[in-house]
Amino acid sequence: MTVHKQIITNRVAFLEKKVPLYASALGLIGLLVLWEIICSTKIVSPLFLPAPSAIVVTGWDMLISGEITRNLGPSLYRIGLGYTIGSVVGILVGLILGFSKWADAIGTPVVYAIYPIPKIALLPLFVLWLGIGELSKVTIIALGVFFPVVINTFSGVKSVDQILIKAAVTFGSNHFNVIRKVILPGALPMIFAGLKLAAGTSLLLLVAAEMIAAQNGIGSMVLHYGNLMITTKLMVGVLVLSLLGLTFNRLLQWLENKLLPWR
C-alpha cells in the first residue's frame, strides 16, 4: 500500500514574491509602444497627439539649441529654492509644534486654517506684495511645500514612543538633545512621507506659477507652445516635467535609504 502524502506548502508565498528588475520598465515601454503604433496608423492627427519618436527628435533639437537648458535653469532654481525653504521651515515648525504644548495650542489652529487654501489662489496677492520677479514664485512653492511637511512632521513627532523620550531624559539629555537625538530621528519616516507628498505639490505650483507669471521656465514654455499649437514642442516640455518629477522622487528615495538604514 502506498502512503498518501499531502505536502504543506507556503500559502503566503505571494507576500514575499520577488519581481525581476525589468518588470518596472515593462509598463512604461508598453505604453510608449502602443502610443507609437496609434500615431503611425494616423488615426489621430499629429497636431493632437505627436508620436513619441517625434517628441524625442524634437526634444534633442531643443536640447542642442539650448532652449531646454534656458528654461530648465530658472525652473530648477525656483523649485530648488522654494522646496528647500519650505521643507526646512516645515520640519522646524513641525518639531516645535509637536514638542511644545504651548506652540501646539497656539500654532496648530493657524496651520489648519491656512492649509486648505489652494496656494495658487494666493499668487496674485504675492505678486502684488513681492513683485513679478522670482521671489513671488519661490514663496508660493515654499508655502505649498511647508504645509504637508509641517503636518507630517507634527504627526511624526506625536508618534515617537514616549518611553524613548523618558529613556533619553534619564540618561541626561536636555530638551534640545531630546529633540535632536530622539524626536527628529523618530519622526524621520513620517517626515519623509511629507517630503514626498510635497515634491508633487511643488512641481504643480512651479508650473502653475510659471504659466501665470513668468517669461521663462518649463511652465511658460509649455504654455507658449500650447498657444502656438506646436504640440510636439509642448510635449517635450511635458516630458521634461515628467523626468524632473521622476528624478526628484528617486533623489528623495535615495536620501531616505541613506538616512534610515535602521528601518
Binding site: D161, I163, L164, K166, A167, A168, V169, T170, F171, G172, S173, N177, K181, V182, P185, G186, L188, L260, P261, W262
Partner: protein, 256 residues
C-alpha cells in the same frame, strides 16, 4: 551615600475622575552597593514607585533624595521593561548614549563602551541595529547602556519579564556576575518571588490598595551561588515567607 525614599505617596485621578491611591507612606532607603528588590502583586504600584525614584513621575507627597553626595548631580540609569533602545542607533551607539550626554572624552567613551559591551557579551554585535537582535540580546544592550554611565543608582523595572524562562534564568545569573563586578546600588522591580530571593540583599514586599510596604526582609544568603543545593532549604523558606505575604493580595488582584 544612600538614597532615601521618605513618606512617598501617589494618587492618580482615574478616568472616572475618582482618586486612586497607588502608593501611601513609603519609607525606606537604599545603601551604597545594596541590591534592593521590590515585589508585590500586579497593580500594587511597583512601577509607579520606580518611576518616582527615577525622576519620571512626581510624588503626590513625600520626597526622594540622595544623602551624603558631595556637590555632584546624582547619576541615574534605568533599564526599562519595554527595553526602550533607540531603533536608529546601533548597539554601540545605544551604549554610548548616556556617555555622550556626560561630555566624556572620545577616548574614554570608546574604552568604556567596549568594556561594557564586552561585559554584556555583545562585542560581535556592536554594529547591529536593535531590530537585528533577539529579545535577550536587546535587554543586554539595555543593561549595557545603563551600566556604561556608572550610575549612583541603577533602576530596573522587570527587565526580564518579556524573556522566556530559560533566557531569563541565564540572564539572572549573568546579572549577578555583572553586579558583582560593578557593585552598583540597585533598585529592582519584579513580581517573580524566586527572582527576588535570588538577587536581593533586601526584599521589600508591597501590598495593594493602597500600595504600602507590607514587610522588609533581609536575605541572609551569600551573594553568589544561591541556587546551590546547600542553600535550597533557606531559599525556599524565604520564597515561602514572601508568598504568604503576597498571597491574599494576589488572589484579590485576580478577581478584578
Amino acid at each position: 551615600m544612600k538614597i532615601v525614599i521618605e513618606n512617598v505617596g501617589k494618587t492618580f485621578t482615574s478616568a472616572k475622575k475618582e482618586q486612586v491611591t497607588a502608593l501611601e507612606d513609603i519609607n525606606f532607603s537604599i545603601d551604597e552597593k545594596e541590591f534592593v528588590v521590590l515585589v508585590g502583586p500586579s497593580g500594587c504600584g511597583k512601577s509607579t514607585l520606580l518611576n518616582i525614584v527615577g525622576g519620571l513621575l512626581s510624588p503626590s507627597s513625600g520626597s526622594v533624595y540622595f544623602e551624603g553626595m558631595m556637590d555632584k548631580e546624582p547619576n541615574l540609569a534605568i533599564v526599562f521593561q519595554e527595553i526602550a533602545l533607540f531603533p536608529w542607533r546601533t548597539v554601540y551607539q545605544n551604549v554610548i548614549y548616556g556617555l555622550e550626554e556626560k561630555k566624556v572624552s572620545k577616548q574614554e567613551l570608546k574604552e568604556k563602551a567596549d568594556f561594557y559591551i564586552d561585559m554584556v557579551g555583545l562585542t560581535e554585535f556592536k554594529d547591529a541595529y536593535p531590530k537585528q537582535l533577539s529579545g535577550g540580546m536587546k535587554q543586554r544592550v539595555g543593561i549595557g547602556r545603563a551600566l556604561a554611565v556608572e550610575p549612583d543608582l541603577l533602576l530596573m523595572d522587570e527587565p526580564f519579564s518579556a524573556l522566556d524562562a530559560q533566557t531569563r534564568t541565564l540572564m539572572q545569573e549573568e546579572l549577578l556576575t555583572i553586579w558583582n563586578r560593578t557593585q552598583l546600588s540597585t533598585l529592582y522591580v519584579t513580581h517573580n518571588i524566586q527572582e527576588a530571593v535570588y538577587l536581593a540583599d533586601r526584599v521589600i514586599v508591597l501590598s495593594r490598595h493602597p500600595g504600602q510596604i507590607k514587610s522588609i526582609i533581609d536575605i541572609d544568603l551569600p551573594k553568589m551561588g544561591r541556587g546551590e543545593e546547600q542553600y535550597r532549604d533557606k531559599f525556599e523558606r524565604y520564597a515561602d515567607e514572601i508568598w504568604q505575604l503576597i498571597r491574599n493580595d494576589a488572589v484579590e488582584a485576580l478577581k478584578e
